[in-house]
Amino acid sequence: MAPESEPETEGRWGRAYGLVLGVLALEVVLLAWMSWSYA
């Protein structure tokens, strides 16, 4: 558990978090569409 090798910019992590949440939103939309179209 070493300290960070280089200072992490918050912006980069913000984009990583945005990516994860964006993928989740996309999955929910796709699943909702699937639920609706195969209902």
Binding site: M1, V23, E27, L31, S35, Y38
Partner: protein
Amino acid sequence: MSGLDWAVLVGTIALIVAYGAWKTRGAQTVGSYLRGGSDAKWWTIGLSIMATQASAITFLSTPGQGFEDGLGFVQFYFGVPIAMVILSATIVPIYYRTRVLTAYEYLEQRFDLKTRQLTALIFLLQRGLGAGLSIYAPAIILSTVLGWSLLWTNLVIGVVVIAYTVSGGTRAVNQTQQLQMAVMLGGMALAFGYILLSLPPQLSAGDALELAGVFGKMKAVDFEPKLETRYTFWSGITGGTFVALAYFGTDQSQVQRYLSGETLKESRMGLLMNGLVKVPMQLLILGVGVLVFVFFQFHARPVFFNAPELDVVRRSDRAPALVALEQRHDALFEEKRALIDQWVGSPQGRAPLEQQLRAVEDRAKGVRAETRKLVKEVSPRANVKDADYVFLTFVMKNFPPGLVGLLLAVILSAAMSATASALNALGTTTVVDFYQRSWRPGATDADRVRAGKRFTVLWGVLAMAFAMFAAQLDNLIQAVNILGSIFYGPMLGVFLVGFFFKSARGTPVFVATLAAQALVLAAFFASDIGFLWYNVIGCAGVVLFTFAVQAVMPAPKSWENP
């Protein structure tokens, strides 16, 4: 089971254990044994986190849930990516900054010893039972379907896991979990492909999904806000987020996985990897169950999947009633089969056929309900929820030699990976939060490693003992989730108060935790609230009670002694 299946099964498990032993050979320090050497990369952490959560129940019960109820269970996992982001941004950096070995150690730095040891005790209790269930659940199903001895199945899973967890500690758990996860994902993807290819050639993949949709199996998302419905979008993103925050943020079996990271960055990336992969992975496993359902629209299914229980009825004087039920079920299958052939052959004008199909399926469900009643009448202690038996029964009857062995390796790998993380964390928490803190404060590094090994063995033996005596539970995965939800809410509440409410003091938090735990138990025993909401109730309870107690309790004169 064929010789090839045994070779694949034993070979896969032996390879994984040997790899773990080889990677962790050599002398051990507290750092390498309890923390895994602090050199894990993000993919090791990510796979290890996923393998810890994926127990054998995941691969036995989840396809069964897909088969019975469709894809709706996936909503439970919507909270995971949200929780991964929150944990990466808030709690994980605090664990790194405070250089703790267990999550509960942080609580002494923030509050006091009694709060640390209360939460550690709740963890030991809950995870100790969980470890027993993670051995028992696959053992009972494997022994029922394959005719293996329950005692020996329990013993083999338990002893192998104890051996490599004790010998190699956290590092061995992390290393073996990489291979176990590869076997699990590879095995399920192969199973998915094989079932898809086993469907009749005239049925396209699109038709298969549409047919599943006719019976309501494709309803993955439910936006209706109903408290009694167990899995909805709303319970998933609220209750599911709370349970994921509590599980990944405060359960030592998970915290220990990402605290083994080389840097904070590796740990965060490992968690985010889990956030990206979890929903598709669960969808794949549920999808396997839905495909099995479609398969059984073209091949007769048993009226009840737990064959040994059915055999008990067959040997009793109620056998004629069972034969009559089976005949009715078979006749309904033929009727449905004829309608499905028409449905496949007429892409236009399917709607009236679909209504008829649903009506026939409802009648078949009625026959299955009568069968369950009959099974219960003949053996009152029988487990009549047969969903957990669907997938393994299907695999044994329909998969080719070799693939059967691989799927059994998937189930045993999952059992071992979840149990190994649990035992590793139980041993570590006992050493760090009790042994070195209160029982033997002057213990040397070597003493602590030795104690770690002994406590891991002790927890392993307790888990096996619990597994041998556990009574049959309705639906195993839900039992584990419900058990978690009872304890996780208050646990998360303590950590949230610690992280975000600077004015909160030790004794009010301690009292509030006990009160919130009592509230959740009251909700469990005396209300119909869906279990995912226990997480919210327990967590909110700790926060509110802390401030209520603090309002009536005078603040101590010195902040150093709250």
